[in-house]
Amino acid sequence: MKSLYIRITLIMITFFGALCWGCEETIQLDLEQAPPVVVVDALLTDSMAYNHVRLSRSVDFYYEGRAPVITNAEVQVQDNEGNTYPYFYQEEDSLYRPSPPFAGEVGKVYTLNVTIDGQTITATDTLRFIAAIDSLRWRESESFFLEPKDDDYIYEVLTYAREPKETEDFYLFKFYRNDTIERFDSETGVFYSDDIGLGEEINDLSGPSLYSLEDTARFEMYSLTPTAFKYYFDLDQLINSDGGMFSGIPANPASNIEGANAVGFFQVSAISAEEIVVGDPETKRR
């Protein structure tokens, strides 16, 4: 249901922007900069392939390079049964991964411990159940929200799933086209939902992007805890803020990271994913 809110904000900005008389331009702000903080970007799922920690430092707002990666941290995860999993830095993708690899289990509570130059950071999250996606289908787009800009990219991918009404659930969604994540043109689309106001049957629900024939479409659904849901809600508010005119005043997201001078989130999720090739007659929506 959060999506509804975002759309209203979009419509209003459109009203003042495109439909009306508003213009915009880039301006230079004279900003005071905070000293760098540690950024924890950590994901642990019930799939071994999605289990990593990325550590970096924040940079000045106008800094022209990428944020520096932290390579010398001690990282480990502990579950509520006392098992400890050490993580090691991998040069090729700048991530810390567990060795030996492991997958999370539904119902367990995981705690991330990071030590950087004597500074300790911890974060805790729980792995919640997720119902599997039934299937994906493709068709020529009929969606209200998708406007074709290119003659080849006219296909939408539809999701079929069941939202269990007996539990209170929170979700994060990710959409891929040929291994590239799709987040709208501005790269700021965050797709998440609670189940308030949602029915049990989710049918024909389309994603944020259009596809051409032969494209591989992938859809991932992650279970979230209320804490993680709030984090994504806040992140969305912040990166899609209009500066506080019609949206709320920009503020840092509420996080589960504990420790001085650290931001980010440690997300623990069950994952459900499906993949189809657009144009495959087997998965065409009839």
Binding site: L4, Y5, I8, I11, F15, G17, C20, W21, G22, C23, E24, E25, T26, I27, Q28, L29, L31, Q33, A34, D41, S56, R57, S58, V59, D60, F61, R66, F144, E187, T188, I196, G197, L198, G199, E201, I202, N203, D204, L205, T227, K230, F233, D234, L235, L238, I239, S241, D242, G243, G244, M245, F246, S247, G248, I249, P250, A251, P253, A254, F265
Partner: protein, 790 residues
């Protein structure tokens, strides 16, 4: 000063005065004063008995009452812009009732007067911190899209701040925009905006008077912390049929008025509609022609003078905005108000007004889609009963008292799927109910020729009532994973109640015939709270009553000022200073979810705020060149627990300096010119102190709320009014208003946001970095409006 002390003081003054002049045998002179051409009742007419040196003023219903010793008097009725009338009256014990009709003055150029009230009101009136808007002047001044708008004029008054152009929100002496009560014919209007604030809901043709109270608010008004805007519509001509209207760049309006029964009953009906959509429909571009936007207003009123003792009015307002995006999506919002009013004279000294008021605000969103199809509606309704009495005890004491009761019903939202295959299910957010009672009494008392007091007390009693399923939270501030037990409340069962005393006091001391000093104190209490965490609210924000998790907001304000008129009231000067303490102002947690949240109570963060300021206001009232200069310095800070690390921060609308200069010049009877220049130092802004990457998103780091300032705001507008030569025999009178908004094309910041840095074609730079973007709205906007009268 504590409430108790003040109460005691009031009582002493009260007892000391009420019995002063009862021994003498006296009589009462009373009646109504109205316009000889339209039959419209006149507010604020001076009724003066020169041999006694005392007098009275007509009330908002045009009624006056004056109790003086029996005898023969010469009584003079004077009102600005009207020929004075003098009557010889033989006043006996039975009293005398005289209704007076005043004829509008035929004025030469030198005589042009822009104030709508008494010449020396600025100095003589007890009330301070009030602004009486002059509609005739507003119509001659440049306006956005040529549509005269009282809210836009209010935003230019001293002590009033606007967050940015193109919005209808205004901020009075450190109060947020939901702390302003706006009433039209006594009915509250919860969202006064059209087109997200480009226009307000007030159609200038039907407004008779509009007065803004910023401080020293009389006891008969309550319910909001910061200000009251009292808009009254005209009653309709009861002498002859008339027509008035205008054709503007963006909207047109038409008003019809006339007698139902001559001198007894009249009607008024008025409509206004924007027609952007008419042009949109003609467009070849499908994006434009299928996205239709429009708004309309309807004002209607009937007015029946049954007898001199009984008068009935019924007034209604209905307005709505509609936004349609193709066939499939749209949203709308609107206000409906209805007022039924009965003026009754119990005696020539006791005037009463009984009103039954209904007010509704609602909005809806609709999306027609087989999958994501939904309909969302929310509303707020209020039914109100008001009983107001004025007791004209003697020329030195004018007592007002009354009762006001309201039943409020808040429906924060209802979701319905509108297709059988929709992913949504029905959802009704819990409705909330409130009962709001208040009793008040106040007295305007002349202690001596120089010293006058106005003092009063308002008792407010607010009940948050059932039916309601109350969530009793383990930790009411846990907005992440709220845990609660549910408690059921039955119909009308009290969940929590709030009792408050609101003392009011004002004093005026005449230093000499044309200068005075005034002081005032008021306590205000607010029991309805807007669910908005932005700087400017949007029509999709809902309201909530005071409840166990939302304490009433309170404010104490003191103000003092010097008032002086120069050159026979040609120039009015006022300098006022105020200090305001606000307690339990409603604010929200960082990133609060204010929309569709069943646990919104966990987002509430109430804290304290203070504001102080200095307002300088100089007005030139007469002559071919009239106008005003206003300068305001103000500072408003807030401290909200858990927000901004518990540190004090400037309020979102804390503009420190504002200036407005307004002028109109009557060149001859054909041409008049208007100009204004406004300046405001930058409004606070929350800006990043760094950035970081998380899962591919590039996010700002925020360290301080409202620690930065937007660039200054300034703008100049011009207008010219052409009134073609009048043909004395024709009743049709027309005039053209040409205006240019933002003459020198200043790019005035509306807001600043951050995004991924991109080149001119929108391609995001690699490696990724960020940039700040400033949105500005109107640059050099010309418009033409044709106004007519029949």
């Amino acid at each position: 000063m504590s409430t108790k002390h003040l109460l005691g003081l009031c009582l002493i003054i009260w007892l000391g005065t009420v019995s002063t002049s009862s021994a003498q045998s006296s009589g009462t002179l009373s009646g109504y004063v109205k316009d000889a051409e339209t039959g419209e009742e006149l507010i604020g007419v001076n009724v003066y008995v020169s041999s006694l040196g005392s007098g009275a003023v007509t009330n908002p219903y045009g009624f006056y009452s004056l109790t003086i010793p029996q005898g023969t008097y010469e009584v003079k009725f004077t009102y600005l812009g009207y020929e004075s009338v003098t009557k010889d009256i033989d006043l006996t014990e039975e009293g005398t009732s005289i209704n007076i009709e005043l004829s509008p003055e035929v004025v030469g150029l030198e005589e042009v007067v822009i104030s709508s009230t008494r010449l020396d009101e600025n100095v003589r009136d007890i009330s301070m911190s009030t602004v009486n808007l002059n509609l005739e002047q507003i119509k001659r001044l440049p306006s956005l899209f040529g549509e005269p708008d009282i809210i836009k004029s209010i935003q230019m008054q001293p002590g009033v701040i606007s967050a940015g152009e193109g919005t209808s929100a205004y901020f009075v002496r450190g109060g947020s925009s939901d702390q302003n009560l706006i009433i039209i014919d006594e009915a509250p209007v919860y969202d006064a905006s059209h087109l997200f604030g480009l226009f307000s809901v007030f159609n200038s043709d039907v407004i008779k008077s509009s007065e803004l109270y910023k401080g020293g608010i009389p006891a008969r008004y309550g319910g909001r912390l910061s200000s009251l805007l009292d808009v009254r519509t005209i009653d309709g001509n009861n002498k002859r049929f008339g027509m008035k209207g205008g054709i503007g760049t963006l909207a047109s309006r038409l008003m019809l008025e006339g007698p139902i029964k001559k001198d007894k009953a009249s009607y008024l009906i008025s409509g206004r509609r924007s027609y952007v959509d008419v042009f949109q429909r003609l467009s070849n571009n499908e994006d434009v022609s299928s996205n239709l936007v429009y708004f309309y207003d309807i004002n209607a009123k009937v007015n029946w003078k049954i007898s001199n003792k009984n008068r009935l009015f019924a007034a209604g307002y209905f307005g709505r905005d509609n936004f349609n995006f193709g066939e499939d999506a749209g949203f709308d919002w609107g206000n409906t108000t209805f007022t039924l009013r009965w003026n009754h004279l119990f005696s020539d000294k006791l005037f009463s007004n009984t009103s039954v008021i209904f007010s509704n605000f609602d909005y809806g969103l609709e999306l027609k889609d087989p999958v994501q199809g939904l309909q969302w509606t929310a509303n707020l309704q209020q039914a109100q009963f008001k009983l107001d009495f004025s007791y004209f005890l003697n020329p030195k004491n004018n007592i007002e008292f009354g009762y006001q009761g309201a039943y409020l019903r808040f429906s924060p939202g209802r979701l319905e799927p509108n297709s059988p295959t929709s992913i949504f299910t029905e959802l009704q957010l819990e409705k909330m109910f409130g009962l709001d009672h208040s009793l008040y009494i106040s007295n305007d008392q002349d202690i001596s020729d120089r010293l006058s007091f106005q003092y009063g007390l308002r008792l407010s009693y607010f009940q948050n009532i059932g039916p309601f399923t109350f969530r009793d939270y383990e930790d009411p501030q846990n907005n992440i994973n709220p845990k609660y037990e549910e408690i059921e409340y039955d119909d009308l069962e009290v969940i929590e109640d709030f009792f408050n005393l609101e003392p009011r006091f004002a004093a005026r001391y005449m230093l000499n015939a044309n200068s005075s000093v005034k002081v005032s104190y008021n306590r205000m209490v607010q029991n309805v709270h807007l669910m908005s965490n932005s700087t400017v609210p949007v029509p999709f924000n809902t309201w909530q009553p005071s409840s166990p998790y939302l304490r009433p907001q309170k404010a104490d304000q003191i103000a003092a000022g010097i008032f002086k008129n120069y050159r026979e009231n040609t120039y009015e000067l006022s300098i006022e200073a105020y200090y305001k303490w606000m307690y339990d102002v409603t604010d929200f947690a960082d990133n609060a979810q204010v929309f569709l949240n069943q646990d919104i109570a966990t987002e509430f963060r109430q804290g304290d705020s203070y504001s102080y300021g200095l307002e300088f206001f100089l007005v030139k009232n007469r002559g071919p060149l009239t106008g005003s200069f206003a300068y305001t310095y103000s500072k408003t800070m807030r401290q909200i627990p858990t927000v901004n690390n518990d540190l004090e921060f400037p309020a979102n609308f804390d503009r420190r300096h504002s200036i407005s200069i307004v002028g109109t010049y009557e060149l001859n009877d054909k041409w008049a010119f208007g100009a204004n220049w406004v300046y405001g130092s930058g409004r606070p802004l929350t800006v990043p102190a760094g950035r970081y990457e998380f899962d591919g998103y590039v996010t700002d780091i925020i360290t301080e709320r409202n620690g930065y300032r937007l660039p200054d705001y300034h703008r100049m507008d011009l207008s010219a009014t052409l009134t073609p030569r009048k043909n004395k025999n024709r009743r049709w009178q027309g005039s053209w208003v040409f205006s240019i908004y933002n003459l020198y094309g200043r790019k005035n910041p509306f807001t600043i946001y951050t995004r991924l840095a991109a080149d001119g074609d929108g391609n995001i730079f690699q490696p990724i970095r960020k940039e700040a973007r400033m949105i500005y709205l109107f640059q050099f906007l010309p418009s033409v409006t044709y106004n007519f009268k029949f």
